[in-house]
Amino acid sequence: MYEGVIQDLIDELGRLPGVGPKGAQRIAFYILAADPQDVQRLTDALRIVKEKVRFCSICGNVSQEELCLICSDPKRLLTMICVVEESKDVVAIERTREFKGRYHVLGGAISPIDGIGPDDLRIRELLARLADDGITEVILATDPNLEGEATATYLARMIAPLGIAVSRLASGLPVGGDLEYADEVTLGRAFEGRRLV
């Protein structure tokens, strides 16, 4: 145990995701030894992020303004919505530059064990968006695990009566990988989702 404030800092850092007790100690001593200006920049960034960042009123993505950069971009298609679990999934899909529509961030996936039901996610907001004219396709890009699949199935059922096309991201083989190293589930999915060439 270290004295008062140093231990406080280590404890606080240790509460961050992905940081263990040893890592917290390393970061704490790095901060102690760092240039005061560097530390000032870090504390400013922490303060400002809590003050300025909010959630886009349309899609629920993190944003500095009322609308996020994607929702306020006039070049994005208004006919397609891609549904994801978290803001970080938006970033992942944006990196592909494949998708020209807009997003909807649910804020998680259905998981009764964690007490998360459909009402705890931004599903009502999604259905409200879909009630407006103009949207012709919804792409469900929830995680390919049990909870993500359950969420996608649930959404597909809610959207079906609206007469909007619903698609699910394909799961299958990683590009550049070897067929023989794929696990059975992935390979099985890839077979199910095969396409004509």
């Binding site: 259905i110 998981s111 009764p112 064990i113 007490g115 039901g117 459909p118 009402d119 049990l146 909870e147 699949e149 359950a150 199935t153 649930y154 059922r157 809610m158 696990d183 059975e184 589930v185």
Partner: protein
């Protein structure tokens, strides 16, 4: 036995901080290996480690914690396994507080269950009496062990099924409190989990049915040899659907799926009342019958032992026929058996490419068959002549 089926053999075993062993290296020949020593010296720990590599759990305890040496945070079991003419290294690190890590040929695999199928072994131990006398969960665990050794991919299906079951039960429980007001919302979410429960559950039920169909004749004939004067043994699959009206006529996946969905529909109100899932492979039963009476509760002590032995030897034959001749492990059982059962077991041991037998004294081992004697004393293992 078919010539095309390869034999499995454990050639080397390393244990680090496993049970009472600090750092143990052993080399085994083929044939019969006797491990002898007084109680509490560590005989069973050696075969327990071999069994662990084949099923990913101990045959003695439900948790991994007791396997890790006191005051240590991890234990290692490593083995060199010979399959036919190929050698394969497999090891697993058991950890407290974080996930276990397994490797094949020193390459880490993403999930420990991927080492299933590398080493197949059948263990017969005093604990097996619970398969015959215990709750249905003991018999399901028995079926699961054989199924995952035969078809390792099923362990993934089982893990998914268990996860969906937990989610669905959590939802049913929370729905019980909510009631009427948002019953419609609950059933919309419930049906999503139903779909996944049925998908994984159907696969498990079809696999279990096939397993029992293949296993039954082998177990029944073995039992008739061990206990010729007993009533005939029979095995049947009592899946939870058959207890409701919707019994599938055949175990065709489509028929099972339909019957499963129908059964969930029928039980919905009951499930909501009780807050648990009432149909599915988690409520299956392997029914064991002698003549017309169930084994559990009716069979004598001797008959129960014979049934347990027949189940293990039948499984051994099934794996030997369909995959590779497994390693046979007999943990402290000769002392428990009468002369006839001993003789029968000894005959099987004589045919096994590799068999491990633990016993407290030499007399409890079929002495003439043993090719290698190991003496265990306070975690020291020494080879000796007869």
């Amino acid at each position: 036995m078919d010539e095309a089926v390869p034999h499995l053999q454990v050639r080397q075993l390393t244990l680090q901080n496993f049970r009472n062993y600090d750092d143990l290296h052993l080399t085994f020949p083929g044939g019969v290996i006797a491990i002898v020593g007084s109680n509490g010296q560590g005989k069973t720990n050696i075969v327990e480690a071999i069994g662990y590599l084949s099923t990913l759990h101990s045959h003695r305890v439900a948790s991994d914690i007791p396997l890790i040496r006191h005051d240590h945070t991890s234990a290692v079991i490593a083995a060199e396994v010979i399959r036919g003419d190929r050698a394969l290294m497999v090891d697993i690190q058991l950890n407290t507080g974080r996930a276990n890590q397994a490797r094949i040929n020193k390459v880490a695999v993403p999930r420990t269950r991927e080492i299933l199928g590398v080493l197949t072994a059948i263990t017969f131990a005093p604990e097996d009496l619970a398969i015959v006398r215990g709750d249905p969960s003991e018999r399901r665990a028995f079926l699961n062990d054989i199924a995952t050794q035969q078809f390792p991919r099923l362990s993934g299906v089982m893990a998914d099924y268990d996860r969906v079951l937990k989610q669905r039960n959590a939802l049913l429980k929370s729905a019980g409190g909510a009631r009427r007001s948002n019953l419609e919302a609950v059933s919309a979410t419930l049906s999503v989990w139903d779909e996944q429960l049925v998908e994984f559950g159907t696969e498990l039920m079809c696999a279990r049915n096939e397993l029992i169909v293949n296993l039954a004749p082998l177990v029944v004939s073995t039992y008739a040899e061990i206990a010729p004067h007993s009533e005939p043994l029979s095995l049947s699959y009592d899946d939870s659907l058959s207890r409701s009206e919707e019994r599938p006529v055949t175990y065709d996946p489509d028929a099972v799926r339909k019957a499963f969905l129908q059964a969930l529909d029928t039980k919905r109100q009951q499930e909501l009342d009780r807050g648990i899932t009432l149909v599915g492979p988690h409520r299956d039963e392997l029914r064991l019958t002698l003549g017309r009476a169930p084994v559990k509760g009716y069979a004598s002590h001797g008959e129960s032992w014979s049934v347990a032995l027949a189940l293990r030897l039948g499984s051994y034959d099934l794996l030997a026929r369909e995959r590779a001749t497994p390693v046979l492990i007999l943990d402290d059982v000769f002392a428990e058996l009468d002369t006839r059962r001993r003789r029968h077991l000894a005959e099987r041991v004589a045919d096994a490419p590799q068999a491990f037998i633990t016993a407290a004294v030499d007399e409890d081992v079929p002495v003439d068959l043993v090719g290698c004697w190991l003496e265990v004393d306070k975690a020291e293992v020494t080879q000796r002549d007869r």
